[in-house]
């Protein structure tokens, strides 16, 4: 069970620190937990783990493909490896290693890809994954998750130790809005209804959850009742919830810090057209490359704002058949 905070302020805990704390907790309980990074330990927040468990932490250098393959081998011998690199490298650069050495081989590898979308900020277009989830979504049986806040991030690590399979976690590295009260629990593969509503459903994850909540407030001021769902699991998509929201609210807006091709909007649209087809407006990156900029500038530039969601909701509602 989760409890949603009354207001979303920036969390005092950075996402990477919540991740590291989760790994330290997990490693203490389970001697098989090991961590690998690809020359980003100074960025990933995993330094405390490397310090505390030097024998169970491996810095693989700037060799991401090798890192993922090593994780597969460790898992084949019973270990529970967690890997980290930036999301751009964690997905497209090692796609075949994830596909063959991990997923097709039915191994147990948990991968963290950090700095999703515009949060890559000053690292710019080379480091700004708008495509990581789309690239990985076509791999059978993989689970794709974008946690929304540090409480969920830390909880997630504990869950992944218990669950067998290949998982990709799309993690904001630094500040994130604080969405959930401490002690909240979740269910992988199930969306969280953060706020009920009857005119439209706003599906979001990651940094877009806060924008969706703001949009819902703006819509409320105009007498529109918006339901907000934190769809933190992109695959497998919660098709049951999508169908229920379609029946109960009649139209959707999806909001993602990602290309709208192949991402959260696509996954929700695929689920909706196979159950209860409804109008869907997609807020997200419209098939563009990244660029250098502050997060606030980039959110404006790519239309990842509450105002975009607000406008999209009105369009979506207008498209409902009377």
């Amino acid at each position: 069970m989760f409890t949603v905070k009354d207001s979303f302020e920036t969390s005092r805990t950075l996402m990477r620190d919540a991740c590291c704390q989760g790994l330290l907790d997990a490693a203490e309980k389970n001697p098989d937990v090991v961590v690998l990074d690809a020359d980003l330990v100074n960025s990933s927040g995993l330094k405390p783990f490397f310090k505390h468990y030097p024998d169970r932490a491996f810095d693989c250098g700037v060799a991401e493909a090798n890192m993922i393959g090593i994780a597969a081998g460790l898992s084949a011998a019973g270990k529970i490896p967690f890997t980290h690199t930036f999301g751009c490298f964690a997905s497209r650069r090692v796609c075949d290693q994830i596909m063959i050495s991990c997923a097709y081989a039915h191994l147990n590898v948990k991968m963290i890809g950090s700095d999703p979308g515009v949060t890559a900020s000053k690292n710019g277009g080379t480091h700004m994954p708008f495509e990581d989830m789309a690239v990985l979504r076509a791999i059978p049986e993989i689970t794709l998750i974008e946690p929304s806040d540090p409480v969920m991030m830390r909880w997630l690590i504990g869950q992944l130790v218990e669950q067998y399979g290949v998982y990709y976690i799309r993690m904001v590295r630094k500040e994130a809005a604080s969405v959930y009260e401490e002690g909240s629990t979740f269910e992988i593969g199930k969306g969280n209804v953060l706020q009920d509503g009857s005119d439209v459903t706003l599906f979001a994850s990651g940094i877009m959850v806060e924008e969706a909540m703001k949009a819902a407030t703006l819509l409320h001021a105009e007498g529109i009742s918006a339901r907000v769902v934190d769809m933190f699991t992109w695959k497998p998509i919660d098709a049951e919830l999508v169908a229920r929201c379609a029946r109960e609210t009649g139209c959707f807006v999806t909001a993602e810090n990602h290309n709208v091709l192949g991402g959260l909007g696509s996954a929700i649209a695929e689920a909706a057209v196979q159950s209860v087809p409804v109008p869907i407006e997609m807020v997200g990156v419209k098939d563009r490359f990244g660029q250098v900029g502050s997060v606030s500038f980039l959110k404006e530039e790519y239309g990842l704002t509450a105002l975009e969601i607000f406008d999209a909701a009105k369009r979506s509602i207008a498209r409902k058949r009377g």
């Binding site: 169970r56 081998g73 084949a76 063959i100």
Partner: protein
């Protein structure tokens, strides 16, 4: 513990594996004949002499591992495993048939005794490193063996792994390079010249041995030298011939994937049978 087979016995075992491998291909009508033939003596030495395994318990935690990174040589491994008792020989007729347990490239989920899924070249070295690290973490003396192709050394991941294994002093990892001089498109020297493979691994910090890859005694000796190396991973560069011991494959270029007529296969099988009889009679 039973005494290890000697070189002559291993030679006879190898010809037995070669015969069964060809019989396996015969049912399929085509396959990766060349690269399967070149690695057979090494598989004979590993499974009949050097590896600590239990065919009755293929998932035994303390077994030695083999990653056949050149996964297209799966048929040679399947014949070896069947003869070693992992599954009935009759199953070999399933090679590449619909719904098979024996796909053209190795699959750990399908075949008893196969330790890693391979086929996308270059990836096996990393998996083997992971297994070797796990053994070290477990405080276990189990070994990890790895077989890569020479053409496979074109892949950058091989050298990422080579660097990592040396840096971490993985002396529980032994890599064989099947240096059969050919890749799919032709001779290595024509497609992408690798230069001196052993020297490359030595430069990366590995212990290197160059041996005749069709001499079981030499391979057996080299493995034991490698096992006794402390503080660095070992590579054994096998001087082999692609298609070795198969009349329609040896000396042919390219011979990576071959189709054959029933008559060609029959001739190849008869040829191996003669050598096998001679080997069993002590030549």
């Amino acid at each position: 513990m039973a005494a290890k087979p000697n070189a002559e016995q291993l030679h006879s075992i190898a010809e037995g594996i070669r015969l069964v491998t060809l019989q396996t291909f015969a049912g399929a009508g085509s396959g990766h004949v060349g690269g399967s033939m070149s690695i057979i003596e090494t598989l004979a030495v590993l499974y009949a002499s050097e590896m600590r395994v239990n065919p009755e318990d293929p998932d035994w935690k303390e077994r030695d591992r083999l990653v056949l990174s050149k996964g297209h040589a799966g048929p040679a491994l399947y014949a070896t495993l069947a003869l070693r008792g992992y599954f009935p020989k009759e199953m070999l007729s399933e090679l590449n048939q619909n719904g098979t347990h024996l796909p053209s490239h190795c699959d750990r989920m399908k075949t008893p005794g196969v330790d890693m899924t391979t086929g996308s070249l270059g990836q096996g070295i990393s998996a083997a490193i992971g297994m070797a690290l796990a053994a070290r973490l477990d405080g276990s003396d189990r070994m990890t063996y790895l077989i890569i192709g020479d053409g496979e050394c074109d892949e950058g991941q091989i050298w990422e792994g080579a660097m990592f294994a040396a840096h971490h002093r993985l002396d529980n990892l032994i890599c064989f390079v099947d240096n059969n001089k050919q890749q799919l498109d032709g001779f290595i020297t024509d497609v992408l010249d690798l230069g001196d493979i052993g020297a490359k691994f030595a430069a990366f910090g590995w212990h290197v041995q160059n041996v005749n890859g069709h001499d079981c005694g030499a391979i057996q000796t080299a493995v034991n030298v490698a096992k006794n190396q402390k503080g660095k991973p070992s590579v054994i560069v096998l001087d082999t011939e692609k298609g070795h011991g198969c009349t329609f494959s040896e000396g042919v270029c390219p011979n990576h994937h071959q189709s054959f007529t029933p008559m060609e296969m029959e001739e190849a099988i008869e040829n191996v049978k003669k050598r096998l009889i001679a080997a069993r009679e002590g030549r």
